[in-house]
Symmetry: C2
Subunit: 428 residues, 2 copies
């Protein structure tokens, strides 16, 4: 096969421009590696007249991404518009219906419609690939679906939202409160237009749902991801955690258990000397665990023009080479409906609460924990100047259900001020 | 394609037994992922009557691996015997000549004969794959040749001999001299029958030569790898390096420069707070740098039954899925003959020497360095009880050539006792 692979690109933001640059600047390299040239035929974006740092004169312009997807002079439709529905989904469906392979970086679309789109592609004999949708430049979808294909995957974990990791590590290094670092990240342009996509864990939750599907051969089930953002994390939490040898990360964890499939995206404590604990700034990390390979850790840039375009091109080059892979690692028709786990795997928890400075206050809290069957590993009460004392408790392993009962009972005590914060301590 | 992929396995040591276990125990998983069953047809090893923890009764036994490779009831020949020549090479050649795909974990064979074997496979329309030959369970060949295929790779680095990393980190943690930890590793069975394969850097050098080929599209050139083992590293070096914020690792580095291809496997200093610096024990790490993706780091087990069998199965499943990839990431016929770089990229160096305790001794050494155009970043002279003083120097960036001239001049001084030790400080 030596005729060019012809691609059409819809969406010419940072990542789209990066893909155009790679195809233009590395023609010989791509041809050598793919065994055939890779060529751009047509492009589409919302605004035509905008300096993207690269010439688009050689390509047919389409105002409508669906029209681009339907063109008969493209082999691969590269969807880089984003958005779970709307033009991205319409164009992807049009591409598949008209016999195109699709490469997308769109985690929201796949988190919501991945199963239907994968089935449509499979029925049409087309491939739909999404390496760029998860953890940017890290080839983690490939690592899981191909590199670890001989494993029963036991757990996948990931720090997959660089903005959240930036905020948490910056709070620690600069000693600034959450709000100040949030504003700083916002002014640096790190946050999505709707910041809750980042700090609420939704963006990272989309990625976790995709990883869980390829890890466990299950249908993407974003609706069952337990989501918890980082908004409640205080600088005090970060310092207390550090005192005890931990770091706080917005960590995604998915594992298949006898109780069903767990998918959690939440702030967790991890040991400071673990690879996850040592991850600083906007870098992403995925931890893949399988029964044969034990543990493989991948670390790299989770966003940005070059890294994300690199991941898009990995899928494009696979297709150019003739590699035909299922979207989620096995035929979409064979993916199972995983039962969501009603109860998460037991873990130790970090609890932070404000106790009234009264005799017997701590005893009441300890009694509540004991009655819920939760034993205390470590407890610290910090010096304080006002009428409530900050108290930290690290529990031994317990279930989230037992913990929630205890938290509810605590909120009924007359000595606990406000709602206690509970963060899982993940074993890594 | 739903008929089984039939494999024949030659070599039933740890890894071979692991592959048999995966195929037997995960039949449904493999069939789901590959879209067809994977079945073992025939096996071969030096000893038939040996408990390998798994039954071989279902498979045809061949005493001769070449006869196994030639059988017409296998599609893929899995070579797990080892050795650069002899039966492994003969059987691999026989497999290709009789129309089989080949999966091998044999780094020595590919380091010496990779180009010829890849060309033979290509001419026969067969694939030859080797994920398990480099860094055990880490899917690094796949990450480079596929995941980062849209990049001009700028540098690859790796800690790829777990035994050496075990020795170096154990020396540090236990405060034991090299010889004691070497004996310990030997008694634990960590060392090859010929230990210089490990501690001399040869095994890791084989792996680096393979990584360099896939990174830069060049023919494997193991003969040009600069090899330096860890035998000369003392506990004092490790402590001095730690004092200055460094760790010592047997580090492979390959980069393409204007002066040609650099391939070095040598003990280097790396910052203690870098992913490479933090790597402990037998774990492997590969650092991949590309112009688009910046830096991707992969960490995982570099040896052992499960991890290595996992890597073998990744290649087998690729073949079962119909993925047909070139051995070294592009057609073997198009791989270039890289000119070996005569001079390595400049770097800072760590120097350790013993100076006679005489007035003016240090001045003489400093003068020699100055005359070679090498400036000193840091210098420490340690307290001492005998007639020579241990002196450490960290230079600013310099070329190895300038350094070698300076070292030669130092050895002619009457105040330097023995030969100074020089270790590169790699920027990571």
């Amino acid at each position: 096969m030596t005729e060019p692979l012809r691609i059409g690109i819809a969406g010419l933001g940072t990542v789209g421009a990066g893909v155009v640059k790679i195809v233009r600047q590395k023609a010989n390299l791509l041809a050598a590696r793919a065994g055939r040239p890779v060529a751009i035929t047509a492009v589409s974006a919302r605004t035509r007249d905008k300096d993207r740092g690269v010439s688009l004169n050689d390509y047919t312009w389409e105002d409508d991404p669906v029209a681009l997807a339907r063109r008969d002079d493209i082999d691969v439709f590269v969807e880089l518009m984003g958005g779970s529905d709307g033009p991205a989904k319409a164009a992807t469906e049009a591409a598949i219906a008209t016999g195109k392979d699709v490469v997308t970086a769109n985690k929201a679309m796949l988190a919501h419609h991945g199963q239907a789109l994968a089935e449509a592609a499979e029925d049409a004999g087309r491939v739909l690939r999404f390496e760029a949708a998860v953890a940017g430049g890290i080839p983690v979808v490939k690592a899981l679906t191909e590199g670890l294909a001989g494993n029963d995957v036991t757990r996948v974990m990931g720090v997959m939202n660089g903005t959240c990791n930036y905020i948490l590590t910056r709070m620690q290094s600069a000693g600034l409160p959450y709000e100040a670092v949030f504003d700083e990240a916002n002014s640096l342009g790190f946050l999505e237009a709707d910041p809750t996509l980042d700090v609420g864990g939704i963006d990272a939750g989309h990625k976790l749902a995709l990883l869980a599907s390829v890890a466990f051969g299950t249908r993407v089930d974003f609706g069952s991801v337990e989501l918890e953002g980082i908004e409640q994390i205080t600088i005090a939490d970060i310092r207390h955690a550090a005192d005890m040898g931990f770091r706080i990360k917005l960590l995604g964890v998915s594992q298949m258990t006898g109780r069903g499939l767990e998918q959690r995206m939440s702030p967790c404590l991890v040991p400071e000397n673990s690879p996850l604990g040592q991850l600083e700034g906007g870098t992403n990390m995925c931890v893949l665990e399988g029964d044969m390979v034990e543990q493989v850790v991948l670390r790299g840039p989770g966003a940005g023009e070059g890294p994300t375009a690199s991941a898009v091109m990995a899928d494009v080059i696979d297709i150019a080479r003739g590699t035909r892979l299922s979207t989620f690692g096995q035929s979409a028709a064979t993916l199972s409906h995983a039962r969501p786990a009603k109860a998460a795997t037991p873990a130790p928890f970090y609890l932070r609460m404000a106790l009234d400075d009264k005799p017997g206050a701590l005893a009441k809290v300890a009694t509540v924990l004991g009655e819920a069957g939760i034993s205390i590993d470590r407890m610290r009460q910090y010096r304080h100047d006002d009428s409530t004392a900050p108290v930290l408790i690290v529990t031994h392993k317990t279930t989230r259900n037992a913990l929630d009962s205890a938290l509810a009972a605590m909120s009924r005590l007359d000595v606990v001020d406000g709602t206690p914060v509970a963060l899982r301590i993940e074993t890594v």
